[in-house]
Structure formats: C-alpha cells, structure tokens
C-alpha cells in the first residue's frame, strides 16, 4: 500500500503539566497521512493526556500541535470537523437504539438526513447488524458496542480518527475483529491514531511510539523496534524499555 509522506499530525515540544506533575514531557513526533499510528505505554504513562490535547479536549501547557494542518489551540473549530474520536468508555447512549445512536452522531456533524439513512443501512449491512438495528445499546455485548462506536467515530469521514484504548476489556478474538475494522478505515484513507497497552496490538500498527513517564522512549515500525531491541515481539521491546527506565 502506498503511504503518503505528508504529515497529518505534527507535534513539537509538547508539554502538559497538571500542577507539579508533568504528564507530557517535551513530546515531538509526526504522524503521516494514512498511517496506523500506535501510541503505546503503560497505564498512567500520559497517553490519554496527549490524545486529549490532539483532539482539542485539553490545551497544552506549551509546545506546538498541528492536526490536519490546523493549530489545535487557535483553530480548534477547524480541527474538530476533521477528526473523529472514540473514548475509553466507547461513548454510545445506552438508552438509544443502534440506529438512533448513528443518527444522532451523524446529525451533530451536520450530515444531511438522507445521507445518514443510506449510510446507516450500508454500515449495518457491513457489520452484519441489520437485525439488531432497533435494539438498545445496553442490550448488546461489549465487543459489538465497540465496533459500533468505532463506526460512529468515522461516520462523518474524518481525516483522522483518535481511538483511546478502544479494545479494553474484550477477548483477543473480538480484538482481532475490531482491528479488521481499523484496517478497513485505514485502507479508505483515514489516519488512525490509537492508544493501547496491549502489546500484541502494537504489531498491527504501521508505526508505534512507546511512552514512559510522560516521555517518548522509542518510535519506529514494529519490525525495526524488534530488531533494535533484539526482541522477538513487541511485548519484549516494551519490557526492555520499561526496565531500562528503572535502572
């Protein structure tokens, strides 16, 4: 697959402090258009903080952050139109049906009703969820909710989608299914920025960065990282990096 070399996310010297605590310590990285970029790290490493800054939910203390060509601080509204976001809590309305959720989220992005209807039908067909379109979200298993939440996050065809630990709490097979969806989105040209602490998922990414205590310790393709750290899998890479920090 041809990967463009244009940067869709540019972060330089990003610092985010909460009082005395530095959650993001001088981060600099780029994400290229169409990439699946894995943002890895242990819990509390500062992944979610960075994600919130990139998606405009939080402001950086200092540094420059550009998403889809716009400054997240000064051109927030323009950034918003170009991104999709799926939070850790998968964020669908429990008491609305599958169809209603899709309709609602399509609606707040200002998509026309007819378009939403057509696209919803197509989406449900693709997810093989036509028969549950009128079921309430709360009646569905977690894995299904996550798939729907992801589909909703990219429903308005954003340039980038931010996924904050999208596969938390489900079994490996469901996780694999979920990654099929991510690949499909990536194939259609959407840049995927995903945080996770599952190292097996890191293998699926085009490029990963590994974060520890607010800093990016390593960033490359999974293959090159494994070579560099002389590891068999990403799990080992991660452990070596974490150990190195402790020494």
């Amino acid at each position: 697959m041809l990967k463009q070399t244009e940067n869709i996310i540019e972060v330089s010297n990003l610092v985010k402090k909460f009082g005395n605590f530095t959650a993001n310590d001088d981060l600099t990285f780029d994400v290229k258009q169409g990439e699946i970029f894995g943002f890895l790290g242990a819990n509390g490493a500062g992944k979610t903080t960075t994600l919130k800054i990139l998606s405009g939910l939080s402001y950086p203390t200092s540094g420059k952050v550009k998403v889809a060509g716009f400054d997240v601080y000064r051109e927030r509204e323009k950034v918003k139109k170009n991104i999709g976001y799926m939070s850790q809590k998968f964020s669908l309305y429990d008491d609305l049906t599958v169809k209603e959720n899709i309709r609602f989220y399509g609606g707040i992005y200002g998509l026309p009703g007819k378009y939403i209807k057509e696209k919803t039908d197509e989406l449900l067909r693709r997810l093989k969820m036509e028969n549950i379109k009128d079921s309430l979200i709360k009646s569905l298993p977690l894995g299904w909710k996550q798939k729907i939440a992801f589909s909703v996050a990219i429903f308005h065809n954003p340039g980038i989608v931010f996924l904050d630990e999208p596969t938390g709490g489900v079994d490996p097979i469901t996780r694999r299914d979920f990654w099929e969806l991510i690949y499909e989105a990536s194939y259609s040209g959407i840049t995927v920025f995903v945080t996770t602490h599952y190292m097996d998922e890191a293998e699926y990414c085009d490029r990963v960065s590994i974060m520890d205590q607010g800093r990016i310790e390593a960033m490359d393709t999974p293959a090159l990282l494994k070579k560099q750290y002389n590891a068999e899998n990403m799990d080992e890479v991660f452990i070596r990096i974490a150990r190195k920090q402790q020494l």
Binding site: Y59, K81, I83, S91, Y93, D95, E100, G107, G110
Partner: protein
C-alpha cells in the same frame, strides 16, 4: 439548526425511556400536591375546647353556638370557675378555653365594647396559633353581621387581622411552596443529573470533540426540561385551582412568566451543579442537600421566616424560592401585578444571570 433539533430529540428519548425520570417528572408533582393538600394540611377540624361563660346571656350563647357550629370545634366541657381553667388544660385533651367576661351583653350595649379572652395551649405552637386565629375570625364575623343588622352599635376590635385568607385555608400556604419545590427539583436536579450522566458515560467528550459548541450542547440538554417543568407548573396551578379552590386573582400570563423566570433560575443552578460534580450521584446529593432542604425549610414554605433565628433569616433571604413564593402568593391570592413584586422579580433575574455567568466560566475551565 437541524443539529440542534436532533440533539433535543435525543434528550427527550432519554427522558421518556427512563421510567424513574418519568415518575419524578409526572408522578411526583401530582402526588406532592395531593399529599400536601390532604395530609399535611394546616387546617383544623373537631378541636376540643372548653367554654367559661361568666355572663351566660343571649349574646354569649349566640357566639358560642357560632363557634361550635363552625365544624372546627367541639365542646369538651363548660367551666364554672377560675380554678378549673388550668385543670382543664392540664388534663391535656383541650386546646383552647374561651372566656366571656361577666355582663357581656350589657357591657356591649352600654359601652359598645366587651371582651372575650382566648386561651390556647401553645405546647403545640402551630396548632395554638391556628386555633386562636380561627376562633377570633369566627367572633369577628359574628360581630360584623350583627353590626350590619344594626342591632348592636359596637365598635369592632380589629387588632388581629387575617387578610386574604379569611377561611385560614392551608392550601394558600402550600401551593406556592410546592410549586417552588417541584420546579426546583425538576429543573435543577434533573438537568444536573442529565449533564453529569453524559460526563460519566464518556459521551460528553465525544460531544465536545464534535463541531457542536459547548453552549448549544448545554442548551440542548436544558430545553426539554424547561418544557417539562413548565408543564408541571401548569398541572400544579390547575390542581390547586380546580381541586383545592385556590383563587386566581391575578393575571395568569404574568404568573406563568414569573414561573418561567423561576424555572430558568433553577436550570442555571442545575448547570452550575453539573459543572462542579463528577458523577450523577454527586449531582443528586448536591441538589438534595443544597437545594431541596433549604427550599423546604428556609423559604417560608413550612416554617415562618419571622420565627427563625437571625442567622437563618439571613440565609433565608438568599433563597430564590422564598421570593418566588412571595410572587406566587401575591399574584394568585391578592391579584398583584409587577408593581408589587418588582423587587422579587429583579432578584430572581439577577441571580439567574449570576448562576449562568459562573456556569459558563466553569464550563470553559473544565476543558483546560
């Protein structure tokens, strides 16, 4: 605009699909009004009294008959001498002793003035107050009637005046209070819970990432509750008018406008609560303890403000519900217009703006 309508529609779905919300919204106002109307009523019935008639003439007899035929009192015993008065109270089954002075009718005719002493058992202060008020009201009515007949040219003593609520009906007291309480509950508590719910569910983040701006998000969440609270107000007014014979002396449109103002005040308070609470539970507790209890206890709804300690009186004077109750009473019972209640209206407007400004500030801070 269509985005906004979609948003409001979604909010209504949340409300209509949650039976607990529906119960609070539609069951509670009716239940409250009926409970306050029938059970917690301040009205009295069949209160036991004693009569100490030192005169025993036709006028005292007539007054006694009037009192006993009112339906509020039944006679427990007749007293013949001073010593029995205290005994009667000590036995504890009578609430009041009515004493006619000697030569009552004679004095009335000669001097145009005679006195009746009313002794009430104030161990239950509230009842004592009501009982003595009822008695003097009955006596006054009697005197007024006699005066109109022109048979007795005496002066009417009008030291204790009971205005606007000549029948001393409890309904006049509790309708405005219940209205304040329910509107506060529906508007402030329900909105704060529904906003914090979005935070808890993580959907608020998604909304904030979307091109919707914070203001429309909040407005979209609040507008359904404006409508529902307003409907509640209509139900309460209708119930009090048709079931409990509450008068409606003033302008209904004006009353509804003032009600709308109070609803907006409560909603802005609800938004404020939602900006400081992290969970639905917390929003509910803040609403309960910081809003409901003070509204019930300090607004003059249940306990008279004049009887409170100074510090509580001072606290009461910042309760928005207190001013709303004054407004509703004035409009419904006295038929007052804006000229009478402009100060209260101004206060409610001011505090609404204050709450809104603080909420908007807080809401922005939350994004930092």
């Amino acid at each position: 605009m269509s985005r906004f309508i979609g948003f409001v529609k979604k909010e209504f779905s949340h409300i209509f699909r949650d039976y607990r919300t529906m119960l609070i919204l539609f069951g509670m106002p009716v239940a409250q009004i009926l409970i306050f109307g029938y059970v917690v009523s301040n009205e009295i019935k069949d209160i036991k009294i004693a009569i100490y008639d030192k005169s025993k003439d036709n006028v005292t007899q007539e007054i006694t008959n009037k009192i006993l035929s009112s339906g509020y009192f039944i006679i427990d015993k007749n007293i013949d001498n001073d010593n029995q008065v205290e005994d009667a109270f000590k036995k504890g089954n009578i609430r009041e002793v009515i004493i006619f002075e000697p030569h009552f009718a004679e004095k009335l005719e000669r001097e145009g003035k005679a006195s009746i002493q009313i002794l009430a058992d104030a161990s239950d202060a509230n009842t004592a107050n009501i009982v003595s008020n009822y008695t003097s009201a009955i006596i006054r009515t009697y005197m007024k009637n006699e005066l109109m007949k022109g048979e007795l040219p005496f002066v009417i003593d009008t030291k204790v005046q009971i205005l606007y609520n000549k029948e001393l009906k409890g309904v006049y007291m509790f309708v405005p209070g219940t209205m304040a309480l329910i509107l506060m509950l529906v508007s402030a508590m329900m909105t704060s819970i529904s906003i914090t719910r979005e935070k808890e569910m993580g959907t608020m983040e998604v909304l904030l990432v979307s091109p919707l701006r914070p203001m429309p998000i909040i407005l979209g969440k609040v507008i359904p509750y404006v409508g529902l609270a307003f409907m509640n107000a209509l139900v309460i007014i209708a119930l009090s008018y048709f079931v409990f014979d509450m008068p409606m002396q003033g302008n209904l449109t004006f009353l509804l406008l003032e009600t709308l103002l109070f609803i907006l005040m409560a909603l802005s308070l609800g938004i404020l609560i939602s900006t400081v609470s992290k969970s639905q539970m917390m929003a509910m507790f803040i609403s309960m303890f910081a809003l409901m209890l003070p509204t019930m206890l300090l607004s003059g709804f249940i306990f008279p403000i004049e009887n409170m300690p100074k510090i509580l009186q001072w606290l009461s004077s910042i309760m928005p519900a207190r001013y709303f109750i004054v407004i509703v009473k004035n409009i419904m019972i006295k038929g007052s217009g804006i000229l009478v209640v402009w100060k209260e209206t101004l206060y409610l407007t001011g505090i609404t703006i204050l709450f809104l400004v603080i909420s908007i500030k807080k809401f922005k801070v939350r994004l930092e």
